[in-house]
């Protein structure tokens, strides 16, 4: 009994329930994805599912297309979001807090409902629903994720560095490219990661925005996972997505740290 009390008074053990919970509901399921990917319906080891993926042109094409859409979306979000964050972080900008809140507020409306409303808006304007609508919708949904980290780094940046650059004869343009942009890189990286990762794995938005005419990788995975016979193949697709996500977060973190170290 006294030993039990001793164990519990060591606060290190308080994390044990959480670690056990995580092991059961995070680590084990992820291992299961791998297990399912390497087995067939009857539970025997097979590489057939992987062979199918590499010869399944629809899956490969959808995968590459999703990657491309995600890259495009990240680029568009960056192009639109960076100036917005930059303007908000300016010293003479009087209401940055209100503005930041206004950018977050739409996220409180369910994103599917917003997507449906966007479709309706496109119909009202008589614009066709296709790739353009898809990119618009994705950008619309993930823009705040880009603006926020960039705004945070820009705001924390020491403004005297910019002044110093200008005192030393740099033009506005030069001081922007040589001082502000490099200093805001950690924010840009984390913004890009935060936009890229959900875009690659998105599954409902594309379906609604294009009336199922364009399929992204997430929707494909969903189709296979919800079909009982094809569960194992769906696991392979999930594994591929998992690898992409892992790589992105690994490199994103690495780069962000490196840039952060420079400051």
């Amino acid at each position: 009994m006294s030993k039990l009390v001793q164990i519990f008074s060591s606060r290190r053990t308080w994390a044990w329930p959480y670690v056990a919970f995580m092991a059961l509901f995070v680590v084990l399921p992820l291992i299961l994805v791998g297990v399912y990917a390497f087995t067939d319906v009857t539970g025997h080891f097979t590489l057939h599912n992987f062979a199918k993926f590499f010869t399944h042109s629809e899956a490969i094409q959808t995968f590459l297309y999703s990657l491309m859409i995600a890259v495009f979306n990240t680029a568009i979000c960056l192009l639109i979001g960076y100036p917005a964050a930059y303007i908000m972080a300016q010293e003479d900008f009087k209401t940055p807090k209100v503005m930041a809140m206004l950018f977050i507020l739409p996220m409180w409306i369910n994103f599917l409902l917003r997507t449906v409303a966007t479709v309706e808006l496109f119909n009202m304007c008589g614009l066709p629903l296709g790739e353009g609508a898809l990119l618009f919708g994705l950008c619309y949904d993930y823009l705040p994720f880009m603006i926020y980290p960039i705004y945070n780094t820009l705001q924390k940046m020491d403004n005297s560095l910019v002044e110093a650059a200008q005192d030393l004869g740099a033009s506005r343009w030069q001081s922007f490219w040589k001082v502000i942009v490099p200093l805001s890189m950690p924010g840009v990286y984390s913004g890009c990661v935060m936009v890229f990762m959900p875009t690659v794995s998105t599954f409902a938005i594309a379906e609604l925005l294009t009336h199922n005419n364009i399929k992204l990788f997430g929707s494909l995975i969903q189709d296979y996972i919800t079909t009982t016979d094809l569960l194992n193949y769906g696991a392979v697709l999930s594994l591929v997505l998992l690898i992409i996500i892992g790589l992105t977060s690994f490199f994103g973190e690495h780069d962000a740290k490196e840039e952060g170290g420079l400051v």
């Binding site: 009390v5 519990f8 008074s9 060591s10 606060r11 290190r12 308080w14 994390a15 329930p17 959480y18 670690v19 919970f21 995070v26 680590v27 399921p29 299961l32 994805v33 399912y36 917005a84 303007i87 807090k97 809140m101 206004l102 507020l105 739409p106 409180w108 409306i109 369910n110 994103f111 599917l112 409902l113 917003r114 409303a117 309706e120 808006l121 119909n123 304007c125 008589g126 614009l127 066709p128 619309y140 823009l143 004869g169 990762m197 794995s201 599954f203 409902a204 609604l208 199922n212 995975i221 969903q222 996972i225 079909t227 569960l231 769906g234 696991a235 997505l241 998992l242 996500i245 977060s249």
Partner: protein, 476 residues
């Protein structure tokens, strides 16, 4: 020194030139847009109605015992003898397409106006099928707007019909706005030029500098507000159309508060009511559990040795990095492998999984700010660990716990992917998955519009309140 001065002079004159060009380009592009918008409004955009196969396959999977889907006629057209058929009871108005497969054999389904009808006997129905291109063109605008037809797109038979659609009135609004904007801008330029002539050279220079600053200021403001306009346009659409009775978003049938009344008196769709209830239950359970688990975990992690701590922190970050679809699928596979029946419990567990890491992260900073010896002191003074936790730790930690709790609530309410894969097939729906399945059927439950309008207003109120409070604190 002289060099730099000369350089500045040169850049100033360059800037002047650049600004002149900027002004010219602005005006020309405004004028072009004014021409472009009516052109868009007039133009006939080609609208391809596609034959969908995916939709039909899905239908068959959902209703395995249904009547062969390919035998059902689906027709682009108007039912001429609608009233008579309606009286005879041979026509049934459908809310969603899949009703056609639900209870009795139907010969076909047809759309008229905003609605879909199913009919039992083909011989009864007289059609006007718009084979003729001109007629198609005339009907297209009206019909393509109606949700019934949009849901139809996947099911349309035979030929891929190319239908043209007009650009719509909204382009006229754009044109008008641009016209007004250009007029104001042009008027301002003319006015300021006239005034400028009366000034001395020094004053002119001062004015020029001031104006450059102002222009940059208003330019950046304009950019942000334009961005917000685009961001809020769909939301405004939802808010505006929450005040009309029509089932379809974008179809104004006169002002009415009926949807609000329906929402509060429970007259709305039963599915919606249960979805709201389940969303709240799941969010509360998940937030409470993850706050308790996460706080304990944070205390534990904080007291761990560096290496252990690194491992657990990494573990903690996994659910945050994982996209929701992967979390959902992996948990789905776990529940399948363990033979759990999926339902409320599995959804709650899944939500705790992705909420807890955020709680841990919001409690940890509070811990590092706290004096680590107070807990030991309490133990030395004879408190049990439980007492020490309650009386010493909790008062210090609760702001972190609260923000973690709120974060967990938010995440849980907004989740689609994880819920979708762990809810099972027992008919459990949260608000998000309810909207998802609704949207897939082609129409939204109209009461969702007032619901989210109210949420938006409440959140706006909360944000304004927080902002106001912050400002007050800053002042004092």
């Amino acid at each position: 020194m002289m060099d730099r001065f000369a350089k500045r002079q040169r850049t100033a004159s360059l800037k002047d030139k650049r600004q002149k060009w900027f002004r010219r380009i602005m005006i020309v592009s405004c004028l072009l847009s004014i021409v472009y918008c009516p052109l868009m409004a007039q133009s006939n955009l080609t609208y391809t109605v596609k034959v969908g196969t995916t939709g039909e396959v899905k239908m068959l999977q959902e209703f395995p015992e249904s009547y062969a889907a390919e035998k059902i006629n689906i027709t682009l057209g108007e039912i001429e003898n609608l009233d008579r058929l309606d009286k005879l009871g041979k026509l049934e108005k459908l809310d969603h397409l899949d009703f056609a497969f639900a209870d009795r054999p139907v010969a076909g389904i047809a759309a008229w106006g905003d609605s879909i009808y199913s009919y039992t006997d083909e011989a009864d129905v007289t059609w006007t099928v718009w084979r003729n291109k001109k007629e198609l063109k005339n009907r297209a605008q009206k019909v393509l707007r109606a949700n019934a037809y949009r849901a139809f797109e996947d099911y349309l038979i035979a030929n891929t019909a190319r239908v043209s659609q007009r650009g719509g009135w909204i382009w006229w609004v754009f044109a008008a706005l641009l016209l007004v904007g250009t007029a104001i801008y042009g008027g301002y330029i003319v006015y300021s030029r006239r005034k400028e002539k009366e000034l001395t050279a020094v004053e002119q220079e001062m004015l020029r500098r001031k104006r450059m600053g102002l222009r940059r200021h208003y330019g950046s403001q304009l950019y942000l507000w334009l961005l917000l306009l685009v961001l809020y346009a769909p939301i405004a659409l939802i808010a505006v159309f929450s005040f009309t009775k029509s089932k379809i978003l974008g179809n104004w049938t006169g002002f009415s508060m009926d949807l609000y009344v329906n929402l509060f008196t429970g007259k709305a769709d039963a599915g919606l009511n249960s979805a709201i209830m389940y969303t709240l239950i799941i969010a509360l359970v998940a937030a409470v559990c993850s706050t308790l688990l996460g706080t304990l975990a944070a205390i534990g992690i904080y007291n761990m040795r560096a290496r252990q701590r690194k491992v657990v922190s990494f573990l903690n970050s996994v659910p945050m990095i994982n996209p929701d679809i992967i979390t959902g699928i992996s948990l789905f596979l776990l529940f399948v492998a363990l033979g759990f029946s999926q339902g409320l419990a599995t959804v709650c567990i899944a939500h705790v999984v992705f909420c807890t890491p955020y709680v841990v992260l919001s409690v940890l900073p509070r811990l590092s700010r706290m004096n680590p010896n107070t807990y030991e002191a309490a133990l030395d003074l004879g408190a049990t660990p439980m007492q020490a936790l309650r009386m010493v730790m909790l008062p210090e930690l609760w702001p972190g716990m609260l923000s973690g709790f709120i974060l967990a609530l938010t995440l849980s309410v907004h989740d689609v992917g994880v819920t979708f894969f762990t809810k099972g097939s027992g008919g459990l729906e949260t608000l998000s998955t309810f909207i998802y399945s609704d949207a897939r059927k082609g129409g939204l439950t109209p009461e969702l519009r007032p619901l989210f309008t109210l949420i938006l207003i409440v959140m706006l109120g909360v944000l304004i309140y927080i902002n106001f409070k912050d400002q007050k604190e800053e002042q004092s």
